[in-house]
């Protein structure tokens, strides 16, 4: 049986390692396309400054990429090491997108990144550009397959339970792939990566402009980044709205938590701008509301409603009661696979099997579950409201802040007077952490909001973990904290150092072809020609 401390420690470990991994992923997604865009300008115009720009940013890209790859391995391991029941229960479905990700995307990205770094002298310009695009496509395709897998956990489609093999099995790969949640989430998340890349490039460029170093490189990089960024931010917000719309219907408990919605109310529902939710008493202590806004936001109409926690708990109680016979029938089927009566009972109650599992945490023999145990299990279907409510608001606030920033940045950049807006350049530097924070908050909303399930409505988190002792969990947590702390220090140090040194170093010893003539005079001549 599962030790609940092990489940909680496994959750903590997974959350820490995933949030850490997700510090590096968005920048990889965004910067890879920015690099491709920069190199496209280089190849089409032939201006050497754009080669310098591409090579400089690719150096920073690689420092970030290494840690993203390294910490991504952890994620693949942890499903098996820490969530073994999850892995065997849904591996038939969940394993496929992960394996396809490796085959179709990660190979592409990883093979071509070697050529992107080492191939400058060996490849023709067009070939090298194609290689850079392969890296960008690879990293984004990779995100697609991972998010298809993730969306199965959020809104499971394309699968059904097989009582013979005691697990979920794939019923349609196309349904799995064309999950609405997956489509919206992929675009929302990958574009969030583009925003991150854009803010990063703009911020570092702003720092150079403030220091009056590498002005030509910084000014051009800044403009490309903010143009890319303003479009991307608008896209993130649009898709975030779509995701809320789709997710709100499929995961009502997550939506109720995001909005601090304890009581179901008639339309048009007000939106809680600020609230202090209390999980214990199921009320908000003090709230600031915008009338009508919630109906508009989540149903895109004035007369739409969404259920509050009160109604969701009642629904859960009914579903738990309906799920109990399914679990009991399954137990009989495990002992006697041919039991036709048990199979019929199972099929009659199959849709609430997961809810039956929920109460098994409190009553090992589900048929003996008391009303109190069922009520406890039903209350547990509501995730922790306060952290979800606030993560969501911080994310949205950051998104709006970035949109305002990019709009201003585009205006200044287009007027060619960004270098004189020194206050704005300082803001641009300070904006660098903002998209990272927003991405982490987005992860928290999505995954905390999924609780208490690993597969929404089907498999409870408490069952999903491996049957370990607490000792193992502490051992691995200590190991991760130690290693990851050392890694981030090394990464930040190298990143800051590379930025401080700047692009000049990329001219030490380059010597192939007229384009790479490295003398200062030739470079200046090059700029003069461009101007």
């Amino acid at each position: 049986m599962h030790d609940i401390n092990v489940v909680d420690l496994s959750r903590l470990q997974f959350a820490l390692t995933a949030l850490y991994h997700f510090l590096f992923v968005p920048l990889t997604l965004g910067l890879s396309f920015l690099l491709a865009a920069m190199e496209t300008v280089y190849v089409t115009t032939g201006k050497p400054i754009y080669r310098e720009i591409t090579q400089f940013w690719s150096k920073l890209f690689l420092i970030n990429f290494a840690l993203g790859v390294a910490t991504g391995l952890t994620m693949e391991f942890e499903f098996g090491t820490n969530w073994s029941f999850y892995s065997s229960f849904v591996g038939d479905i969940f394993g496929a997108p992960l394996a396809i990700e490796g085959l179709m995307a990660f190979f592409l990205e990883a093979t071509f990144i070697g050529l992107m770094v080492f191939g400058w002298k060996r490849l023709k310009r067009g070939q090298h550009l194609a290689v850079t695009y392969m890296v960008a496509f690879g990293s984004n395709l990779s995100a697609l397959w991972i998010l298809i897998a993730n969306s199965f956990m959020q809104t499971p489609t394309g699968a059904s339970f097989n009582p013979v093999t005691m697990r979920m099995e794939l019923s349609s790969l196309t349904e799995l792939i064309f999950n609405h949640d997956a489509q919206a989430k992929f675009v929302h998340t990958s574009i969030a990566g583009y925003v991150t890349g854009a803010i990063f490039v703009a911020g570092v460029s702003a720092w150079y402009l403030l220091k009056r170093r590498h002005v030509e490189l910084a000014r051009r990089s800044f403009r490309m980044a903010v143009l890319f960024g303003v479009l991307a931010t608008a896209g993130v917000i649009t898709l975030g709205d779509a995701l809320g719309f789709i997710g709100g219907q499929a995961q009502p408990t997550k939506l109720a938590a995001m909005e601090g919605l304890w009581k179901s109310e008639p339309a048009p529902m007000p939106f809680n701008l600020v609230a202090f939710p209390s999980q214990k008493d199921q009320v908000n202590r003090g709230q600031l509301q915008v009338p009508y806004a919630l109906s508009l936001l989540v149903t895109h109409s004035m007369d739409g409603t969404v259920p509050g926690v009160d109604r969701l708990e009642l629904d859960a109680i009914a579903r738990i009661r309906n799920g109990i016979p399914a679990v009991a029938a399954l137990q009989s089927l495990s002992a006697a696979p041919g039991d036709a009566a048990a199979l019929a009972t199972f099929h009659a109650h199959e849709k609430d099997l997961g809810y039956g599992f929920l109460v098994q945490r409190y009553a090992a023999d589900v048929t003996q579950a008391t009303d109190a145990q069922i009520a406890t299990a039903a209350r547990e279907t509501i995730p922790q409201v306060a952290p979800i409510f606030w993560s969501f608001r911080v994310m949205v606030l950051m998104g709006l802040l970035m949109l305002a920033y990019f709009v201003l940045a585009v205006i200044y950049s287009m007027r060619n007077n960004i270098e004189h807006q020194r206050w704005f350049l300082k803001i641009a530097v300070w904006m660098i952490p903002v998209p990272f924070l927003a991405c982490e908050m987005g992860w928290l909303v999505a995954e905390l909001g999924r609780q208490p399930w690993t597969v929404y409505g089907m498999l409870p988190t408490w069952m999903s973990a491996s049957t370990h002792g607490v000792g193992y969990m502490i051992f691995s947590l200590v190991g991760f904290v130690g290693l990851y702390t050392a890694f981030i220090i090394a990464e930040m140090y190298l990143m800051v150092r590379a930025i401080r040194i700047g692009p000049d170093a990329s001219h030490a010893g380059e010597g192939a072809g007229p384009i790479t003539d490295t003398s200062q005079a030739a470079r200046l001549a090059g700029y003069a020609q461009e101007a």
Partner: protein, 377 residues
């Protein structure tokens, strides 16, 4: 034969292909990491060795990722049981693996000698530990691992970390490390000249002799071992769980498949031939040929293990009846079908563009180029 059984066998073979791909491609890079401090005495020599695999280690590492992903997708019960059961080993493997990308990428970014030395050690650990674990994991398959299932297939592991470090597993771990060092050494021979080449050649010869000896000892050891025999189970190709079978332990049973089909003796023979001819080729400075022979050796060694164990994938030592086989731990027919389709399209594509990448980066890595190129590791 039934379609589902055919798919299961196809995936068993594909898993073999992926594991051999992993052993060859990741193994050579790990071998280079392992011998880095020996073949390179100065910083520049080490950088030459690193830059031979510099453009490729990242792509090669995906074989490892894909190996894990394929087990997850095609044999989820194996993935779940093995990864959770071998928790401590998996963590050590993982932690050594995640040092590798940083070792390559960060090592030469600072001029400090202490910094570079630290990463050289990290590369040694992250080359040697995973390859020993890889082999030791195979070794443990022959003894079985102590796990059992509840009614709903929740697995519980009852063994300890030290139990995995039994003598036979260590032997297999050393064999795996020896083959990895051989592949690393001939890869360095391919890309380096002069003294680095000479040191790598010495290592290639030593490691191939070692591998031949270890593989032979392993064979005799397995002969005296108790093997697992499936005495009753639902027919192959019928959806089933590990709760529905009987298994007995019989002396020497791991040789049963070879005795039943003598043509299978060709598989271990291929392993020996690869190592022996690899030794000769490395001695004759034919490093390209030696590399391919090393790949053949891996094919023979992994093929031998798979053939001996078939149809078992992960036997249970504490409850043999719940051992995992090709028939009771695979994914559903639909998943296996889709995955065969994806593999059929993408594996050749991957091989094709990987070959192109090696072609583009062909030739020797010269010290003066490494010190002049700021993109170099």
């Amino acid at each position: 034969m039934d379609t589902y059984a055919l798919l299961q066998i196809t995936w068993w073979l594909l898993l073999g292909v992926l594991l051999i791909g992993l052993a060859v491609m990741v193994g050579m890079d790990m071998g280079v990491g392992t011998i880095l401090r020996y073949v390179g005495r100065t910083d520049l020599e080490r950088r030459v060795a690193l830059n031979i695999i510099g453009p490729h280690w990242e792509g090669n590492q995906v074989w490892f990722v894909l190996g894990g992903g394929a087990v997850f997708a095609a044999f989820p019960l194996i993935y779940a049981t093995a990864f959770s059961g071998f928790y401590v080993v998996m963590m050590l493997l993982l932690w050594s693996m995640i040092m590798r990308p940083l070792g390559f990428e960060y090592r030469s970014k600072l001029p400090s000698e202490a910094w570079r030395n630290t990463w050289d050690w990290a590369l040694l650990v992250s080359g040697l530990v995973p390859m020993v674990v890889f082999g030791a994991a195979f070794g443990n398959l022959f003894h079985g691992a102590p796990f059992h299932f509840s009614w709903n297939l929740t697995s519980t592991y009852t063994g300890s970390f030290l139990g995995l470090l039994n003598p036979f597993a260590i032997l297999c771990g050393l064999l795996s490390a020896a083959l990895s060092v051989f592949m690393g050494a001939v890869t360095v021979m391919n890309g380096a000249e002069g003294v680095i080449h000479a040191r790598a050649r010495t290592l290639a010869r030593v490691s191939s002799v070692l591998a031949i000896v270890l593989f032979a000892i392993g064979g005799f050891w397995v002969r005296g071992m108790q093997g697992f025999v499936l005495t009753s189970s639902p027919a192959a190709g019928i959806a089933q769980t590990p709760l529905q079978q009987n298994v007995s332990l019989v002396d020497g049973a791991w040789f049963a498949n070879f005795q039943a089909h003598p043509v299978l003796w060709l598989v271990p023979a291929l392993g020996f031939a690869g190592m022996l001819l690899g030794l000769l080729a490395a001695g004759a400075r034919r490093s390209h040929l030696a590399w391919w022979l090393g790949a053949v050796a891996w094919l023979g060694v992994i093929g031998t293990a798979g053939t001996a164990l078939f149809p078992f994938l992960l036997p249970s030592s504490s409850m043999p009846a719940q051992s995992l086989t090709v028939w009771n731990s695979s994914s559903s027919q639909l998943t296996l079908t889709w995955m065969v389709g994806f593999a059929a399209v993408f594996v050749p594509l991957v091989v094709w563009y990987t070959s192109w990448a090696f072609y583009v980066m062909r030739g020797k890595v010269k010290a003066e180029h490494v010190s002049a190129d700021e993109h170099a590791y």
